[in-house]
């Protein structure tokens, strides 16, 4: 199967959103914004041997490649609109050593995993790219929307705000997580700041505090069964939301208050009275 035929096949998998004026198959995808929408964009590639290993099921690679970006949308309070998928495949995923054919089975499963989540979350597949590479590389770009000016930022936390987290922490590398889109949406106009926990609570809380020019006191963290406190504090890939709200507002369902925003050195975080080092995942430390 050559590239043109393969793109034709992927096009058939794709859902078209009502705002996708031109989808897969032209030089660019064309998106028609609604009046007074702000659009949110995120790109976060997944690379073999860095973010996953070769033995991970292609459906899960597809799911995660989209889910990690949708988690960033959720953190801004966004509704998913569409995604673009850049996929580069190594020769070992091709049917023969001449590299003349793509491995339809792998690509098919990857897209099934991705499209299942795309359909569930209302994300259209608007375009993408296929290339060859030595290692598997996929870069999913997502676009979401919020009503004008309603995006949740990292930078709005105020001293006195209550600090919350969704779900339970320490579950790094759960094979298929669900991005907290509904929660993010419900926080619009209520949360003063929000971030998703992709690199560990300690590092992402540091980022939120630094962006907001505040400090934080953490009293407790909800831990998933079987995980250590260390993992809950510093493990990456939780994909829960960490956010702040004025104390007088009621906590959303499924969230736990873990502490309070305070004045102090920008980014300084204390856990049960002791300084908490921001040693969550940071790429340069791997």
């Amino acid at each position: 199967m050559n590239e043109i035929d393969l793109i034709e096949k992927i096009r058939k998998l794709a859902t078209k959103g009502p705002q996708i004026a031109v989808g897969i198959g032209d030089d660019c995808a064309v998106f028609r914004p609604k009046p007074k929408q702000d659009l949110l964009f995120k790109t976060d590639p997944m690379i073999e041997d860095i973010h996953f290993t070769r033995d991970l099921a292609p459906e899960i690679v597809g799911h995660r490649a989209l889910a990690r970006n949708l988690s960033d949308l959720a953190a801004m309070g966004g509704d998913p609109e569409f995604c673009l998928v850049s996929l580069a495949l190594p020769a070992h995923l091709m049917n023969n050593k001449l590299g003349e054919k793509w491995d339809e089975e792998w690509i098919g499963k990857f897209y099934r995993g991705l499209m299942a989540l795309a359909k569930k979350t209302g994300t259209a597949l608007a375009g993408g790219h296929l290339a060859k590479a030595d290692k598997l590389f996929c870069d999913v770009i997502v676009c979401g929307s919020v009503p004008r000016g309603k995006a949740l930022l990292r930078s709005g936390a105020k001293p006195g705000d209550a600090l919350y987290v969704s779900g339970r922490l320490g579950k790094s590398w759960e094979s298929r997580f669900t991005p907290r889109l509904e929660l993010g949406r419900s926080l619009r106009g209520r949360a003063t700041s929000c971030i998703d926990i992709s690199d560990g609570l300690s590092l992402d809380l540091f980022r939120l505090c630094r962006a907001s020019k505040v400090a934080a006191e953490v009293d407790r963290v909800p831990i998933v069964r079987g995980a250590s406190l260390d993992r809950a504090l510093h493990g990456g890939e939780d994909y829960e939301l960490l956010f702040t709200m004025p104390e007088r507002l009621q906590a959303p369902k499924g969230t736990t208050r873990i502490g309070t925003i305070v004045r102090g050195k920008h980014g300084a975080v204390r856990f049960q009275g002791e300084p908490l080092e921001a040693r969550g995942h940071d790429h340069f430390r791997r």
Copy 2:
């Protein structure tokens, strides 16, 4: 230099467009569309040893990574709005073997090459991502705009239309080419179809004809000094525009009429009376 400090440094390089409500440093970039804009999106990664080799100057990698995507925008008649940059760097580009530091010099030069073209073309840098990889990988995502409904598509060529190409062909791998944005913009409302020649005239003309459900007769091609006819017909990376217009309209400056759209098998192309095989660059043939 850690990731947070490095992102801070890149943020200082970035230009913010008037429509970028939130740039680098939050979970997503936020773009505020103008009324009645259609937005165009393109992603097209560049991978070490597939699209370039390690000895290519980082400024040129940065320039090309943006330019090849702007060329697709040009082909749709788009005005550049912003880009997102996903960059994954191998260990050999880091300062020490522990991979604890990014190579600021390489990254700095890459961004200088990219930002020089971004500023020249009015493309804001709105966000991106840094990761580690075994090979250098960069995926630049560009967003452009056209007035509603004015995007130039591949699919509008009609029998009887004149077929044009910009510039001269066969110059594959010119180190820094200029995307034909001005020409693309001038074709809005005049060209019936348009595509950029990234994979060779024969393959891209085949794509245009197939999308338009027409055939084409090519009489001549303008060839760059020193290039062979074969290279002009089949070589990739020309980044010129190939487009069709009704015969009665005047050809834009700097373009050459190379043939005529005709009825026939969809995608069938003849050159000086003989069938022209679509053997331009197609990834699966590499």
